[in-house]
Amino acid sequence: MEFRYSVNGVQGVSEIKANLLLVDFLRDTLGLTGTKNPLDYGQTGACTVLLNGQPVKSSMMLAIQANDTNITTIEGLADSETIRILQASFKEYHAVQCGYCTPAVLLVLKDLLDRIPNPTELEVRKQLDSVLCRCTGYQNIVLAALDASKNLASAS
């Protein structure tokens, strides 16, 4: 079937199978491998992308369900100020270990900071509940997110 997509601002039309998952379209068809597919029915959230700005699990939806929407992956956010500030805080706070869940973590935190510029620690943690990290105990991710929210406030 015909899939009209817009990924990271690039529009196109692709002939796809009806059962193609969005994550496979992004990774295999477009080569955007920053989005991970840990084959886990969405449970770890490492497949998270933004659909019209909202975090969704790309392994839990068909590509065709994203027809005529705007999809954003980590690769499309190099110029996002929120992402750049988050990345700087992540480095400063040693919030990356193996890095496999990191793109998904950045996307859900971008969503949080876009909605709630000055979140509490608990709000950050609740937002992170959709992504599983087995390396960090979330500690430095939480601290980096809180630091980024302060830096965003002073940058704007």
Binding site: T33, K36, Y41, Q97, R134
Partner: protein, 788 residues
Amino acid sequence: MTTSIFGSAVIRKEDNGLLSGKSQFMADIVLPEMSFMALLDSPYAHAIIKKIDLSQAKIVDGVLDILIGDDIKQYNPLPVLMNPAGSEGHFPPHPWGFPAGQTILAINKVRHVGETVAAVVATSLEIAQKAVSLINVEYEILPHVLDARSAIASGAPVVHESIPDNVCQYVSWGDRQKTSEAIKNAEVVVRKNLPYQLVSACPVEPRATIADYNPDDQTYTLWTNTQIPHINRAVLSGLVLNIPFNKLRVIVPEVGGSYGCKGYIYNDTAIALVLAERLCRPVKWVDSREGIFQRTVHARGSDIDATIAGSKNGKINALYCSNFATLGAYSTFNGPGAPAALTGMSITGAYAIENPFYEVNISYTNRQMVGPMRGAGRTEGIYVIERLIDLFALEIGMDPIQVRRINYIKNDQFPYKNGLGFTYDTGNYELALELALKQVDLANIEKLRSDAAKRNRLLGFGVSSYAAVTGVGPSPYMHNVIGLNGGTYGTAHLRIHQSGDAQLHIGSQPHGQGHVTVFSQLVTEELGIPFDQIEVIHSDTKGNLPIGGSYGSRSFQIEGGAIIMACRKIKKKALLMAAYIFNVAEDSIAYADGNFFVTGSPEKSITLKSISNSLHNAWDLPEGMDPGLEAISYWDPKDFAFPFGTHIAVVEVDQSTGVIEIIRYISVDDYGRVCNPGIVDGQTHGNIYAGISQALIEQVVHNELGEVTNAKSLDYGSPRASSLPLFELSRTETATPNSPHGGKGAGDVAINGVPPTIVSAVCNAIGIPHLDMPLTPEKVWNAIQSRT
């Protein structure tokens, strides 16, 4: 140096690619002409393969090749490389006389659910999976045995025909008779069975492999997410597939978490190599989530009958432990090492116990294989001794903190021989305890309890201490005592370019620990070369010197030791060159901050960069000196190191649901000298997380058929961010003499303190002596209801 980079939380060099999503993990790799492999697993725990019908699978359009047990008989089974010395081991037969693990595909018989029966390669994964579903296997189901105690009972189903009693190995450490007598004569004796449940390392990224074969020069390339590329190369080439060592190259991309479980040689990598050769094209395989529980090793699963004995004054003088452990259906390449050596030799923990004894029966069962993970063996041992200390304290009516103080190995007892084969290097256990206690107002605990009670919650606290071995290892000891067939030294190859930049080849295998950053820091510290001018090359057997890999908190201590030794060789040659340039004697040259100068004449000074330039030009060198500036170091430590610490947890239990909330978690850990505290604190957070997860939630659950019933992330629990507090970390630094930088291991250390601390706190809250892990709400709620 004016400011030292050693000890500074330098930002990681690894981060940019991981933060932008550009760093490449296994599943991200795409090669031209790539084909896809899918595996058929055994649905039965124990069965004879009567017939495999491939007729329907073969005719699927796009299927390229199918491999079954009959096709791989020319290849050796995976070998077992560790067999604790002094004990007889029983393994399946191996044509070359090695102890054997599994064959790369099941031959005639399957011995656990998930054992690989067939492999299909096709032009797409979908086609390969479809063909797998069309393979028709006729099985004759055999009786099976799943737990370690049943396996060694008489009349148990036999897992391997050549091993009729299912016993792989019986191992003991310490003096049984002396310990028994001490217990018989003791004033106080406490006995307890203390199991540690079976768990999975459960990394977010599944295991994956791409194998390729080039017929022009008969070379194989294997990309795989392993902790041990060099061992994969050596074992798969020479010992399994019988191809020349130099014809196999192993490359490891970024690894998405491992925690030990990717530190093996798996049959599926060998299958992919065989198929790549048959097809002369790349074969890609990515495991499924269920596969993490079927084909990737499980961990822990100890079952220890323990006895502790001592006096009413708090002094403990005997510890007797009998463990029942299983390897599952086959031994991994590192064999019974975790239950045999690591648990057995560590079980006295932080305490000086005059009469320790440990024995273990390690059996085969019809279960998936068991291997070490983060805290391997030590975590099971420390759990036992820490729970026993609490129970002993309860028995004599003494504060368990006081019992710990009385029995600690004291500062003046180091180096301390623990009576089980280990010599503890250094420690200051009392200091760690006092620092931890300072952070909690225990005098006020009753007030906190009554405040919590008003909210229908039970508040409690727990304290545990640990000391745990790191730094595998001194090669002679690892061979002579632990029975390892291979060396365990570190290697480093450091080249100073003409430009003064450095290129460092390491043999260790990072999977999230920041080796590139930390090892750059070591070179900067030793030679003054700017941090950004150091390139660290790793994870490729082509070019890197061989070492065992990264496991058991060895990389910083052992690989770091080799790097420092290489730096010192560089410094030695540069110093000779500086003496030649200034025409003075060698002992007149001093070094500071990257400069070599004539003692007493600081104006006569030359940089390492200038020296390197002269050595590479080689226009004017001292008699007999070779051009260039590089050094290779193979460094073997003289003994292990023992990091230690004390942890305290404060928890609240909801009386109406049994749900546990961790209110505070305090850890004081000592890893010797720490190079990058940012990285080490991050490792500590991960250790505390894993320990909490195992204490509260994690367990691999089998049904009576030997199937794992919770083989999905949804069912295999793991704490999410909002269920955890900020952990409160501090460190003391007691250097070890067993590494050149004084650093001990850190990567899988702090976890040792966590499970007993959590269990102790929850039991304190409920007011019961003990509860087995995992402390699920149901179990805790039932314990609350059944209190007398």
